[in-house]
Symmetry: D3
Subunit: 338 residues, 6 copies
């Protein structure tokens, strides 16, 4: 069982030897100036990653058979090099089944994925538009796609950047959109919720998450918006009788969900449902980023009276935890005026 995480290493002294389980994210053979071969590794777990060196790969204590993507048990110590933490590896072997959980090696949603999935299906069941309902059921009935949808992170970083993050974000959004939609009678609720389920579906192809979270080359060249539009467009084309104008609106909702050209949407939202999708998506991503930042502040020992550090996903803004800060207010009861 894993008890030492990458995030712990920053506090270690350079001379301290320790054992830990990590995933091999990169492996490269290199040579020192004196022609001695050594291995350059990147080891990671759900809390981060660390550059590592095996200075004597021929040593019997270093396994010969491990590859990128393998889980390994290593012994060694940290050093600081060039402003980055580095690990010097002295023992290394592949793990055996059961020694370490995959969920310890990549960051993972804290929610139960099966329950999230049932919630998602429940929302789809509630649709009254038969075409949109059939479209979503068809997509989610595809075993490979469903598996990817359950696993994918919502982003490489910034927000919901963990296994199951996409599903977690979508289920939160469905509940939020379901609250907002009835407020505006002009909105077609099923179309808004369809947009919620499909807006980031291209991420299952844009990102790879088996060994760390990376963009695929195809993902970098085409982007999840185009990939999602293609996937959904083809699926619709396989559904007899799907109305063509509804098809255009579904695709438009995916295309425009980033809300601005400079954020990578080739079209601005031009129907009310697309506008609402952009708003709730943006709000939910920011609220999650704030929640993560508040947790990080506590983890780093900041006081309840303090602002967080600058948050990249919120234009470098600092945030304040309302509830915590208000505890500093002494007076619990107002005076009587009425």
């Amino acid at each position: 069982m894993k008890d030492i995480y990458i995030v712990d290493l920053a506090g270690f002294e350079e001379s301290k030897t320790f054992d830990a389980f990590f995933m091999v994210l990169h492996k490269q053979q290199r040579t020192t100036k004196t022609n001695k071969p050594y291995l350059n590794l990147i080891l990671g777990d759900k809390t981060g990653q660390v550059e590592s060196r095996v200075w004597d790969p021929g040593d019997a204590r270093i396994a010969k058979d491990f590859e990128r993507g393998d889980t390994v048990k290593v012994r060694g110590c940290v050093s600081r090099f060039d402003d980055r933490l580095q690990m010097k590896v002295e023992h290394l072997r592949k793990t055996v089944a059961g020694e370490v959980e995959k969920s310890d090696l990549l960051p993972c949603t804290t929610y139960n994925v099966d329950e999230l999935w049932q919630k998602l299906l429940g929302f789809v069941e509630s649709f009254t538009n038969p075409h949109l309902k059939l479209l979503l059921k068809t997509l989610l009935a595809d075993a490979g796609l469903a598996q990817a949808y359950r696993e994918a992170p919502a982003a490489k970083q910034l927000h919901h950047a963990w296994l199951g993050g996409l599903l977690e974000h979508v289920v939160s959004l469905l509940a939020l959109a379901d609250r907002v939609a009835p407020h505006y009678p002009i909105l077609d609720r099923d179309l808004v919720l369809t947009g919620v389920v499909l807006h980031d579906i291209g991420k299952v192809r844009e990102l790879a998450w088996d060994i760390g979270f990376e963009y695929t080359v195809e993902g970098a060249l085409l982007g999840h918006i185009e990939m999602g539009v293609e996937l959904v467009g083809k699926t619709i084309d396989g559904l007899p009788g799907f109305p063509p104008r509804l098809r255009t609106l579904v695709l438009h909702t995916i295309l425009s969900h980033h809300g601005k050209l400079e954020f990578g949407s080739p079209k601005l939202p031009m129907i009310p449902e697309a506008l609402v999708l952009n708003f709730v998506d943006d709000l939910d991503a920011k609220m999650q980023a704030i929640a993560s930042e508040f947790e990080k502040s506590i983890r780093e020992g900041k006081g309840a009276d303090e602002l967080t550090g600058r948050i990249w996903a919120l234009d470098q803004r600092q945030m304040l935890n309302t509830r915590e800060w208000l505890k500093g207010d002494a007076t619990p009861e107002p005076g009587k005026l009425f």
Copy 2:
């Protein structure tokens, strides 16, 4: 009773004489090159305004006693001059009580103001935070302020630009915010709703709406954000025991509600409640602007298949009425796949 509106004049022939009731928005004495005095007026009603000329102010058929702000009955005809419609006035007299409704002279909410007001009070009653509840009750119990709050437009133009528009916008926002707040347990619902009620309260001083909708000079120099902060800050200072940190957060929420420095907020939202306020305020303003534009499209005889004109409040974007456009889809039922 009023039966001819400014908006109708565009369709009139130049030679056609008609009678109508208008409000005098501006009145200025001028002289032609030949030293003949004439009057330059701006006449208006709830649908717009028109520049008007009285070429013979000495004529017995032209009242002598009317001023800016009076309601008048005029007879005359339209002409076109310099790309603008102009009215030539031949008869003019002040109206007597009951001849014309004030609500015909300025655009006005279509909702019942008393009902909106009761809804607002109902939300305040639901608060659990005694300080915030007392703050809002104190403000809304001020007769002059309450009257202004019930009458004020939400903006000079762009969205909810009509009498009662501020109240209509706030009540819509309260219901929307009350839907969104429970979705994020981190949110202090009463603080969000307080922000909704107070964010635009400075508009009661920034704008004047007795004779058209205009910025006051003080409003132009200080802005409704500062004016609202001052009003709320002073009110709080009169409440014994109001917690100082809560005071700071209430004022911050007003200060930051435009969401960006370049939109005139001197601070970005730095607590979750302020962030949510900015989102719902922006969303509600845009949804109302869209609804207005759809109505305008129908009024102007555009077909259901057509995009609206470019909308100033949405970055010159065109919008499409989802429901109307989808009526062009023939197929009502999907094929059977499952």
Copy 3:
């Protein structure tokens, strides 16, 4: 035969009656305040359009059977109204076959379309990459698509905004790209030229040009980039053995050809071929816009020494005709220094 064009009307006196052939771009029944019905028309030809009024639609000299899209012969005179020229129509009948050329009614390329088409096919024949060659031949062999490709304008306005403009622009670009590609050995010439042929192919669906040049609603919601990517992607999927990575690059080239996110490309060019396509496309569009502006300057009687008016497609810049301006330099021969 047509001898009076929209562009001529600006010079007409208001009282002058004339006969002319136009296309009916819009037709709407309206009523004056006195309940007299009248017709509001927009009439157009290849040089522009003019708002027109039939004040007495019941008159025997006004045909009853014409619709939007019909070509008509009208008699009437111009008037000025609200800063726009307007035409008053007194006679109106539908034209008979042969009375007027379609090419007089919509602006049209001055090149021979068949010759442009042969040049396009010739470039495709020169490809050495069998997949790309087959892809283009398959697309261009589709009769409906080929017909649209030959007719479509390259834009609604700005540059090559005439029938055949897309083809004219593409053929110019092919020749230009074929000059540039060999200069950089890193470039895959066939991929660059494929990008040239396909980059704007979605315009055949984004635009409608039967009655004036307009965006279709689908075009406004999805855009020609997405429409082109979908068309090309589906065509590739019908080609057995088309290499998947090559497919990604072809689609990327279409996606990124606007060169910047804020110009509506959801991805920046990330392969050298896409970068070059963006440059030559931009250069050719600007060079054509300059040439049009120089012609317009001459048409408007500006002198050779003068700068053009401000050009919308070049950031409101004025341009100078080098050759014409240099004629003002007297000295034809340099002195002898060597």
Copy 4:
């Protein structure tokens, strides 16, 4: 007496032990992986700050009774860690009165504060507008406010970021504004000078400077502009007979002094006096930043012929010291032409 400053540490060898006086800016108890407690400190003086570690807090040579804000004498040596200098502390005790000057611990104006204060009062005495004179005298007569005004830095960093910096900046601005105002007869000199004295008065609440220079949480949430407006507005409200329009202009001048919305002013300057205030404030801040940079260049041993480093407060621009650079020009006398 203090003889070693933070700024000196960068040049120290890692093995060298030294004694020095610092202020404790932060103090936090932490634990190593092996559960050994240690102290993490930030120590500072007027030249900067350094992260420091006490690896053995139980050692008798480490005082037990010191807190954040205390002045201490430490013995230790530097090390480099993660791109930052760090200090290892071996001895630590609180200082006794007289051992070290507070002015050595925080950067401080080089001017005599009493003299600056007298100059400020002298300018106020010169006012002819009795309301503005009374307003300033009332504010400056408040002992607590006056003390804060004398101590406050003008900024956390960027310009005049030292004790007394606000007063130094204001007195320089008063003299500058007093030179500029008579040049434009349209200007109300007393209003310009009032703006100078009050524009940054909110900084006495936005910033805290007892232990380093930091934003208060209230300062971060409300900003010095709002804080200054509130303070001045309330003071005016306590002055019987202060003219209401003059009140609006004084507050407007404070609100708009940053000159642009994106710099945090919710209003642009809309009276000539506010425009001038924005110009002179901006100019004086930049001139001071340049002077500081020239000193820094000399301190860092750059030659007189060299440009400075890039200056953050001047858009990353480099500056050249005119006088120094011109010394490289040999010819002292021009030729005779007249």
Copy 5:
């Protein structure tokens, strides 16, 4: 003597005939559709210009011998056409000497040019740097340049757009800069003042002002910054012993005086003197634009309580006349607090 100005025409009735003196700014022969020749003229004076038509150029009452640039006496009346005022000309003859002042035909400084010139020379005389003094004396001693410098407007529009405007702006700037320079001992006063005199000297070639104010083609292609640098650089090269570094600084000051790349300066100010020049130049231009706008407001009959219209040169901002507005404050004396 001229008693009717372009600015008066807006108030004229269409049927009223009048006589007036104007300058012919453009003259073009055109033909109506019925092949009747007519003349299209642009007539102007110091208050503006008006498009004019001579419908019967063969009429004996129309002079045959006038050209662009001539001063003429015309009789006719106004009409409105296409949102612009137009004049119909019935009589036209060239003026004889003495009938009309040139200063009535182009807008002109209200200051005495000879006095401005003496002030300019006086500032130059006060220099202590012999090189800079000689440079300016050499330039200003050139008769053609001096004449142009005295006549040139400071801009085509925006600020000081009248004959003598350049000189008026420079003399105001010299006095302002002479007030500011001593405030910062780091500044080389003579270099600042040299920058003031030379910064816009290229305008004497960029603009043409004999017949209206226009950019020359060379001016449009090169700009007054480059033109000024070339003129000054060549002049310096003719001065024996002018120090090369000083030459670089003088040219840098001209190059950088617009203060930002996007305003057309290819370099940002990098010496303190150039920074100050940019500030005072910008301030003086804006103060003059405000003064002009206040006059315009009064001319247009706006009340003292009103904001001006939106001012193009100040980012579309409205301004308020402090002195006038404060007259609305009743209370002349403050209460007694001390």
Copy 6:
């Protein structure tokens, strides 16, 4: 002969001693806190530079007579300090003639400079415009200028940042422009090519490249655009009979070649030739930057399937090597459809 380069040092162990040849880019005497003098050096070669320390300058193994700009042989080892590699120098002596090539010490074009020069002259010979031909021949016949033109880098960094880079860039551009010019008959080929040869000629004065690549102070204050315009303008003024309008166009082409004000061009391209120059210059710079990045990727051991790192000169974009990536496509032949 040089066998160890700066770029190799990153891979060295801290304890490893080595010998190498470098150029001394900076040399400064400093003192440690204990008053021990030491030398701070920056050593460089064509692959980069490294900060270096001589801790014992009095040691007999350290030469006394070397200066900035000298080539030295050093022995020592690397250490890491403050996120930068540092070298500790133990032996140091000046090199003797022949020990090391200058081309090893500064990065240098891989092309033969004489051949590039002949190509340049060949293009000039092909001109038909005698004035432009004479202008270029005159400039290139100046021995000092020609030498500088052959040596100068095209930039301090970003693209063609090596000795001979300017010439290499210009010759590539000449060939490219010569391909593009005939495509647009409106273009004056000789004027385009003249712009190519002259657009960056000011870099011979803006940059210094004897000891590293740096901006001169004059270069920083005036920029290569102004410096080039002055050099070319003066040269033209020495050519009897050079037509004045052609002079203006040549200078305009240099002035405007950056294409945008914010890139430091004080004028936008306003003739077609200047527009084309801006396009080809920008394209060639980017293509070269991409080629360099592909080489760097290979050098750093990235796989052919991988995107490059983010490229500063292309807005932080990653690029993909088309040819290499397509090798991953298995299918070499398309299916048969025709």
